[in-house]
């Protein structure tokens, strides 16, 4: 078995999935890019490491502690596709991460065996506005191409027609890190969790991916004594669970945000979420642009119009152009279902 086929097998056997939030099987993505690159001009690799969602900090942790492994993962990808098949590698970071971690990443890239990889690697710093939407794969492509930062219609998927119309692999740094582990047969089925909010020991933890939220909270000493509820998978798009629903895994971007049940004013919380979405909405599709604005507006009304609110939320979930618009519905719906009586 050739070396390159071997890595795909290892990724597949390790069961790696994308850690950006969508949990798409990594092996399938890599295979799709590989197939698309056949008989075609070279493509691109993008490390999507510009965490834009509140409550998620694990990419920072990974860059801090595992920069070499992330680069190794990128290197393995480049080798897998064939060095001549990859025109360029973009490492997409926000300004803060660039300031903190680009030095160590560059240091790794300057050393053997990554010099050639380093030559064609470029850091791309995320603009301060529209931080969330630019994390969406196709919006990110538009950003790099200098177009309006908006998601593209899919299909075609970036694996076939990505950056400048070429096949493009976009993975989260955690995914590249896991690839590096899998290649050395060291992947143990773990993932990174960001725990924040009403937590005694907030931070990023590296724990088995199959743990339940309750196990994670207890093992990290973060299980609150007070009445609480949690938001799992992202501080904006994550689903809300009450303290009796914690036997679920922490999915999405692996974050757990703990809220004080008594002291949380739900209207303030909703306004906080909706302000975020309203600001981050790119404006392309009517439902996300208008919906986020109107939901935010509804929060200011004395008499809360629950029916109208629900209608808009449902339509957001059902008809948004991209995943970010539809993800807006998750916290809103689940809060009503699981916490607010």
């Amino acid at each position: 078995m050739s070396k390159t086929a071997n890595i795909l097998k290892k990724i597949s056997e390790a069961g790696l999935v994308g850690r950006g939030g969508a949990s798409y099987p990594t092996a399938a993505k890599w295979a799709a890019v590989k197939a698309a690159l056949k008989n075609k001009k070279p493509g691109y690799i993008i490390v999507n490491g510009a965490e834009g969602e509140p409550g998620v900090k694990k990419d920072a942790y990974i860059f801090h502690h595992h920069a070499a492994a992330v680069i190794n993962g990128v290197y393995l990808a480049e080798q897998f596709f064939g060095a001549d098949k990859i025109k360029k590698i973009y490492i997409f970071l926000n300004r803060e991460y660039y300031q903190l971690y680009s030095f160590s990443l560059k240091t790794v890239l300057a050393d053997r065996p990554y010099e050639a990889l380093g030559e064609k690697t470029e850091f791309f710093i995320k603009p301060d506005r529209l931080t969330y939407i630019s994390g969406e794969e196709t919006a990110l492509l538009n950003l790099i191409e200098g177009k309006k930062v908006e998601p593209r219609r899919k299909p075609p998927y970036p694996t076939e027609q990505g950056l400048y119309g070429r096949p493009t692999l976009i993975n989260n740094p955690e995914t590249f890190y896991n690839v590096s582990l899998a290649a050395q047969n060291r992947y143990e089925g773990k993932r990174f969790y960001t725990i924040s909010g009403l937590a005694r020991r907030p931070g990023v933890y590296d724990l088995p991916a199959n743990l339940t939220v309750e196990e994670i909270l207890r093992q990290t000493g973060n299980y609150p004594a007070k009445a609480f509820f949690v938001q799992v998978g992202g501080g904006a798009s994550g689903e809300i669970f009450n303290d009796e629903q914690l036997s679920v895994p922490a999915e999405g971007a692996g974050s757990i945000m703990i809220y004080d049940k008594k002291r949380t004013d739900w209207r303030k919380l909703f306004k906080h979420w909706l302000s975020f979405y309203q600001e981050q909405s790119c404006g392309q599709c009517a439902i996300c642009r208008e919906g986020s604005y109107r939901l935010r507006e509804l929060m200011n009304q004395k008499q809360f119009n629950h029916k109208l609110f629900d209608e808009v939320v449902q339509s957001l979930e059902d008809t948004s152009f991209c995943g970010l618009g539809s993800s807006m519905a998750a916290p809103l719906k689940s809060y009503f279902a699981n916490v607010k009586n």
């Binding site: 506005r129 529209l130 219609r153 599709c285 009517a286 439902i287 208008e290 209608e311 008809t319 152009f321």
Partner: protein
């Protein structure tokens, strides 16, 4: 490929979207931003449908159907999502229905009624938005725009890119570019593709309504070649119906004292242009190619983007300006009317004619020749507003001194038509010189050559070579400004070039009824050529009343003032913008 829509077996072709298949099979899926002319944008989210096995709803316009798919287009879930999205869109659209010329056709309004959308739960969030006006032709009203971007895409398709999306989220705005190297050419394709009349013509209908009731004015109307084959669509008549006769009656019922057919003006244009062609033909050092100039949008384009081409443009005025000149001089004289009292209103499929009518060089005794210009849409609105039952109107006829023009005039409304009309007359003029030498199969005896099918059709760019009088004439036709770049590098190759700004020519003009699609353009196109085919008089130079007028102008030496015009290099067009401070009540 078989799939199920609303539990019914339906066959579609591979690659078709759900929306296309549904519409082909008579299943109604509402949409706002979808337009077959434009690339799918899928941003209004109104065409959402349910697909079995999918978690979320999908937009029918952007989802390619696959075999075995099961689609529900009208389930309760779909209806609710649609209603919500329409309500949200309505919240971004300040209703000016009470005085909106799109009132009777507005798709948003129709859908809101159909889906019983509550329209007062959200406040108008765009109350303070700007309206941008491009000279006197077109405007984009930010208070009515719901950001579907069809105008931006339509403008890009014209190769202009004057309109841009600026900002993000709720602060997004459609705005004219600040790039000074780009200018609006008033073609109005933005207005033709706007689903809610946010991009629309700068209306003149209320001014016309007002002047019609003025006691001391003789208000006359003249309507353009392409109006007759499209107006019927506004009243549910089959696409392409020739409504010539009804148009006369409708205009008279609206109160116009006399009605003229711009086809007569088109014959004047053909004559003038053919003579100019002949002048150049006879000169050994003539400037080639000769380029048509009856499309005001193309003229605006040339004046701004390619001033070096201005010497190529024929100085012949455009048909409605020609006819207005004839009305205000020759006709007034014959009828013993004071030309100062005559008000000429043009009914045209065009927004750029509004700009053209105000051009300073097109004045007679310091007054505009054409006083007001209405688009087909404005005209239809007036008919509906005045409760005229257009479908059942009897036919009538117009002012007898001028006729309905030749067949060559009718095809002015189609891309290639102006050139063909001129060629018919050029061929005859050449024959009259008596130097025709027919030889070889590609050559035709010029006086017998009536049809020039090689320049017809709806392709974006057409070219042909004729042999007339032993000399080759190379022809090029640009159908839609977006195709101009295809001819630019090889301009010197041609003798005669026709450019129409709008796809299809005037039949696809920016002032035509909405919707205007490729299929509709095709029907209007066929109808125009049918009119030509059925006219006994098919060449401009056979039009005796026109020749009488033409001779008279020459005799009076008024050619420069009534037949010809001039062009000048232009800077950026006049852009004005304002905020409407009025609180507009919603009025159904």
């Amino acid at each position: 490929m078989k799939l199920k829509i609303n539990n019914k077996q339906i066959t579609g072709r591979a690659g078709q979207t759900i929306l296309e298949i549904a519409r082909e099979n008579g299943i109604e899926i509402p949409s706002l931003c979808y337009h077959p002319d434009l690339e799918v944008q899928a941003n209004c989210r109104v065409c959402a449908v349910e697909i079995k096995g999918r978690i979320n709803l999908a937009t029918a316009c952007s989802t390619v159907a696959v075999a075995g798919m099961e689609v529900l287009t009208d389930s309760p879930r779909v209806r609710q999502a649609r209603r919500t999205n329409l309500e949200l869109i309505f919240g971004a659209h300040v209703e000016k229905c009470g005085h909106c010329s799109y009132f009777y056709d507005c798709e948003l309004l129709k859908l809101s009624r159909k889906y019983k959308v509550p329209i007062n739960r959200f406040s108008d969030r765009k109350q303070g938005r700007r309206t941008y006006r491009f000279d006197q032709a077109v405007e984009v009203d930010g208070t009515q725009c719901f950001d579907c971007r069809n105008c931006v895409t339509a403008c890009a398709r014209q190769g202009i890119n004057y309109l841009e999306v600026v900002g993000s989220g709720i602060n997004q705005e459609i705005r004219p570019t600040r790039d000074k190297s780009i200018a609006c050419v008033y073609c109005g394709q933005c207005t033709l593709h706007c689903p809610v009349a946010a991009a629309q013509e700068q209306g003149n209908w209320s001014a016309v309504e007002k002047i019609l009731s003025a006691k001391d004015k003789i208000v006359v109307a003249q309507f353009a070649p392409a109006v007759r084959v499209s107006l019927g669509e506004e009243f549910g008549l089959p696409v392409g119906t020739n409504c010539e006769g009804k148009i006369y009656t409708a205009l008279k019922r609206l109160g116009f004292a006399h009605v003229f057919d711009i086809n007569f003006g088109a014959d004047i244009t053909t004559m003038t242009e053919a003579e100019e062609f002949m002048d150049r033909w006879r000169q050994p050092q003539a400037v080639w190619p000769l380029m048509t100039s009856c499309c005001p949008s193309w003229v605006a384009y040339a004046e701004f983007y390619h001033p070096e081409l201005l010497p190529h443009l024929t100085t012949a005025r455009s048909p409605h300006i020609h006819l207005a000149g004839a009305i205000k001089t020759y006709w007034a004289e014959k009828k013993k009317l004071d030309p100062k009292k005559i008000v000429v209103v043009s009914i045209v499929p065009c927004t750029a004619k509004k700009y053209e009518a105000a051009r300073p060089e097109l004045k007679w005794q310091k007054r505009k020749l054409v006083d007001y210009v209405l688009t087909v849409r404005e005209f239809a609105y007036l008919i509906k507003k005045h409760n005229i039952d257009f479908r059942n109107l009897p036919d009538s006829d117009g002012e007898k001194l001028f006729n309905r023009g030749s067949g060559a005039a009718a095809i002015y409304g189609a891309s290639g038509g102006v050139m063909e009309s001129a060629l018919r007359t050029v061929a005859a003029l050449l024959a009259a010189t008596g130097r025709t030498k027919p030889s070889g199969s590609t050559e035709h005896s010029p006086d017998q050559r009536l049809e020039f099918k090689e320049v017809r059709g709806l392709a974006g760019f057409k070219e042909a070579t004729l042999v007339l009088n032993g000399r080759k004439i190379r022809l090029g036709v640009v159908n839609g400004l977006g195709n101009f770049s295809r001819i630019l590098p090889k301009l010197q190759k041609y003798h005669y070039i026709e450019v129409m700004a709008c796809p299809g020519g005037c039949l696809g003009g920016g002032g035509q009824p909405i919707p205007t699609t490729a299929a509709i353009r095709r029907k209007r196109w066929e109808s125009l050529y049918n009119i030509d085919k059925n006219r006994l008089m098919r060449r401009a130079h056979e039009n005796k009343p026109m020749l009488a007028y033409y001779a008279r102008i020459k005799e009076q030496n008024l050619g420069a003032r009534l037949l010809h015009t001039k062009f000048t290099k232009k800077r950026n067009p006049i852009l004005t913008s304002s905020v409407d401070k009025r609180k507009l009540p919603f009025a159904f």
